[in-house]
Amino acid sequence: MISELAWSRSAMIGVAIILFWVFVGVAAPVISPYSPTEMHDARLQSPSPQHWLGTDHLARDVLSRLFWGTRVVVALAPLSVLLGILIAAPLGLISGYVGGKLDTLIMRGVDILLSFPTLLIYILIITSFGPSMLVVIISISLGSIPPITRIIRSLVLDVRTKDYVSAARLRGEQRRYILLREILPNVSGPIIVDTTIRIGYAIMAIGALGFLGLGIPPPTPDWGGMINEGRQWIFAMPWIVLAPAVALSSVVIGLNLLADGIREIAQQR
């Protein structure tokens, strides 16, 4: 699988972009010229050899904040999607395989939650519980449960009629064995593609929340929050908001390119 990925140009570009930002996130303490919260002598400075991207409205180094802000994106987005999968996978597997009333009940719930605009759920939850890193992660993973459940269910519906599943059933295997050993491995490919795209959505959501002022509370550097705070100076110092906007878009583009690549390979098989 991984060696096949090397043949897909879009996947390789995607992987390169993602690895770049993962490196920036991990190495942030080493490569950042300053601390992300340290205040320097002048606010709203233009780019200079000391401050490559200038300083923000609180005289903090924008480049250092950009580097440190990578951590929020690189760590929180996959974490919240994984949390969502942990809850959605059993729901989807059971709903698709067992069927019947349980399936109807789960899918009704999923349909109802899917018709609720996601951003409004986030706003409501974050207002009620107060903005914190934990609340942001939980609300984004909650938002991802209904769509993941639905996708896994439809994949299971497709696989459950296959001969190897019938064979396992005839052998008298337990339902748990069939679900985990026969069905799960055979639906994992499309789940990986979906997860890659969904991490991109989570990054957009974390960014949007930061932009709306409901994200990770300051002074933690966060790209969405940087755009929110720097918005007032967009006409005088556009780089303060352009840098995080370009960074965030590039990560999502990287993830989507990777997903396209994986999908291409899956189709060739």
């Binding site: 939850i125 932009f211 002022g213 755009i227 967009i234 006409f235 965030l248 878009s249």
Partner: protein, 314 residues
């Protein structure tokens, strides 16, 4: 057919019921006492308790939910804590503005997205398809707040063509108002165009490979005519539903665009309510906006039912 309509409307009512419960019980957690809020910090505890009793706040949550929802059904969403005015009036004005913005966004994005998707789908694998597919992947990947920043920097800062804020001014001329709305509409459209073009491309490519199109081509009908007469009609069904079911994404875009351009619509109102802990306003506005979303999805479903004979007779 009547059964289908009743089923859809029944589902919609059930959905709204569950969503209203969710909204109410999530809002329960907010650590704000409306009675204390109304009377101010210096009121005596006795006065606050009396008001709580009068407002019914001392009753159990299910009873309060029932009171709230029966008032809502009569059109009474309560008063906004911050504005001290009926939520209903505040929301009505803002909703109209948001619908205008979303409607203009739709009017711009649907023809463009469909056209791009069709061109790509007809030329599957050829250079036009590759270029359009690349552009739509880019648009899909860039979130609305980032593309908004890019457009403001390019069109207001560098080129100076359009203003970067869109506060409506009743005295401004039509041209002036239109100029203010172009960037927000563009951002909103870019947020969806990539998705719409991708959907249309897949659908169009599939239709072009179908037997009836091949038959039409083999019968000697010119390709142009085949596309206009047969392919488009069938290829548009899938993207039509896709875009209507994507209305929740569009709502997210509307909130972001309104905040970015300072456009006073319902999205901005909801965010301000959230930031000020104005929970009655947030609950009422969320319920109204969700109702709009759910109703759109039901209308899309019913529309699809009439557009696609395979469902109607299947």
């Amino acid at each position: 057919m009547l059964g289908f309509l009743l089923n859809r409307i029944g589902t919609m009512l059930l959905t709204m019921l569950v969503i209203s419960m969710l909204v109410f019980f999530i809002a329960e957690v907010v650590p704000i006492d409306p009675a204390r809020n109304a009377l101010g910090r210096y009121a005596s505890q006795q006065a606050v308790d009396d008001l709580r009793e009068k407002m019914g706040l001392d009753r159990p949550a299910p009873v309060r939910y029932f009171n709230w929802i029966s008032n809502v059904l009569r059109g009474d969403f309560g008063d906004s804590i911050h504005f001290q005015r009926p939520v209903r009036d505040l929301v009505a004005v803002r909703l109209e503005r948001s619908l205008t913005l979303a409607g203009l966004g739709f009017a711009f994005m649907i023809p463009l997205g469909l056209a791009l998707g069709c061109i790509a789908g007809i030329n599957e694998g050829k250079p036009p398809d590759r270029i359009i597919s690349l552009i739509s992947s880019l648009f899909v990947s860039v979130p609305a707040f980032a593309s908004g920043i890019f457009l403001i920097v390019i069109f207001s800062l560098w080129l100076g063509w359009f203003p970067g804020v869109s506060i409506p001014d009743p005295d401004a001329s039509f041209l002036e108002s239109a100029k203010k709305l172009i960037l927000p509409i563009l951002v909103l459209a870019l947020d969806e165009i990539g998705y719409l073009a991708r959907m249309t491309r897949v659908s169009m490519a599939e239709v072009m490979k179908s037997d009836y199109i091949r038959t039409a081509v083999l019968k000697g009908i010119p390709k142009r005519k085949v596309i206009w007469r047969h392919a488009l009609r069938n290829a548009f069904i899938a993207p039509f539903t896709a875009i209507m079911l994507h209305v929740n994404w569009l709502i997210g875009g509307v909130v972001v665009v309104e905040v970015l351009f300072n456009y006073p619509g319902l999205g901005r109102l909801l965010l301000d309510a959230a930031l000020r802990n104005d929970i009655t306003l947030l609950m009422g506005g969320t319920l109204v906006l969700t109702f709009v979303a759910v109703a759109t999805q039901v209308v899309a479903d019913i529309g699809l039912y009439f557009m696609n004979p395979r469902i109607r007779f299947g």
